[in-house]
Amino acid sequence: MRIAVASGKGGTGKTTVAANLAVTLARHGQTVAYVDCDVEAPNGHLFLKPIPVGEVGVSRLVPRVNPGQCLRCGACARFCRFNAIVCLTDRTLVYDELCHSCGGCVRVCPSEALTEVPHPMGVVKTGVAGAVRCVSGTLDVGESTSPPVIRAAKQAAPPASWVILDAPPGTACPMVETVRDCDYVLLVTEPTPFGLHDLRLAAEVMRTLHLNFGVVVNRADPGAPETRAWCEQGRVPILAEIPDSAAIARAYAQGRLIVEALPGLEPLFDQLIARLGAEVHREIREEGGVLA
């Protein structure tokens, strides 16, 4: 099962949910891989504290101009939708940081003046945290397109019965890249106007991508009436409510998992995996039914 933990709003508790979920599944004897796809600010390692195992670089292809062959015709610059190539009268410039590595410029060049070379853009680290296999992608500072590093991190995930993908915040390409081929998505929200606003946006992405999803409310006030009302109206299941508690905040600040620092809250995550399992299997049954 591939489960993504995403949100619209940042700071709602994706990593808290993903890391505690991974450890809880492992405690129940499952094989688990945790993949930190928040490559612009990976922080799952702060809580899971994996022992490093390996590290591979991630690169993307960018064009290089051979000035001797370049006609300065501007075909490449006209083709590039991202303005990564500028053709001046006596030279052609490439802005690596704007290039989206589509390779189109190389194809349209009439004089074979462009070749593609790898441009380093990040790293994927693997490690082991107890029974949880960890993968973490990190985008280099100054790089603006994270999906290639996210793809590399996902590909580096070892086979496991549960792969937990910790998504970046937002609803743009990095989040889409993370959730796109998952079996189920947990959307973590908080009972604030921003939390609900961004939950709606994230839910819209899930529906557009035809992904099954449920909600985890973090820092839940008793009831969280507005979030609850919205979920009921849209028939979105709430799989867990994590209480708004100073003890949780303290554990978080010390880099500790809820299920390790606060044993009293273990049943909350046991219940989450039970409901998650039920949801995933219900969705599979229903989809099977539709197909039949």
Partner: protein, 150 residues
């Protein structure tokens, strides 16, 4: 010499646009012939990224040697340097006033022209590299290619 002023409107009395790459218009003036043209930058102003270098490409191909504008971003700066186009800071006012102040020698250069040759004709010019000028490659022509688009 050919000057370009980034402006908010097409008229000579239009206010200067202090954003270089995303300026709505460029007023291009030939100081020798007095001939003036207006370049509509609507498509360039609206691009998601790379507005600055894109504007430099257009001005370079028109033979512009200096731009009067407000703020020049880092990518526009490297492109201006590579194109040996000078940039001068204008505080505000109209296009006409900017040209008058420039002709009186009272504008501050924000991108000096001298840098062009030092950037080199290397196969790669990125912002990062341009912060540390490269050697000019030996044996390469500095002559403009002349014929523009193929």
């Amino acid at each position: 010499m050919k000057l370009a002023v980034s402006t908010q409107g097409p008229e000579p009395g239009s206010p200067v646009d202090t954003h270089f790459g995303r300026a709505r218009f460029f007023r291009v003036l030939d100081t020798e012939t007095g001939q003036q043209t207006v370049l509509d930058n609507a498509d360039g102003a609206g691009v998601v990224q790379g507005a600055g270098p894109r504007a430099v490409q257009r001005l370079c191909r028109l033979g512009v040697q200096a731009v009067l504008t407000g703020h020049v971003g880092p990518k526009a700066r490297t492109a201006l340097e590579a194109a040996t186009i000078e940039a001068y800071a204008v505080e505000g006012g109209t296009a006409e006033e900017a040209v008058r102040v420039f002709m009186a020698g009272q504008l501050r250069a924000i991108v000096p022209a001298a840098g062009g040759g030092q950037l080199g004709h290397g196969p790669r010019i990125s912002v990062r590299q341009c912060l540390h000028p490269l050697e000019t490659r030996a044996g390469q022509s500095r002559e403009p290619a002349g014929s523009g688009s193929a």
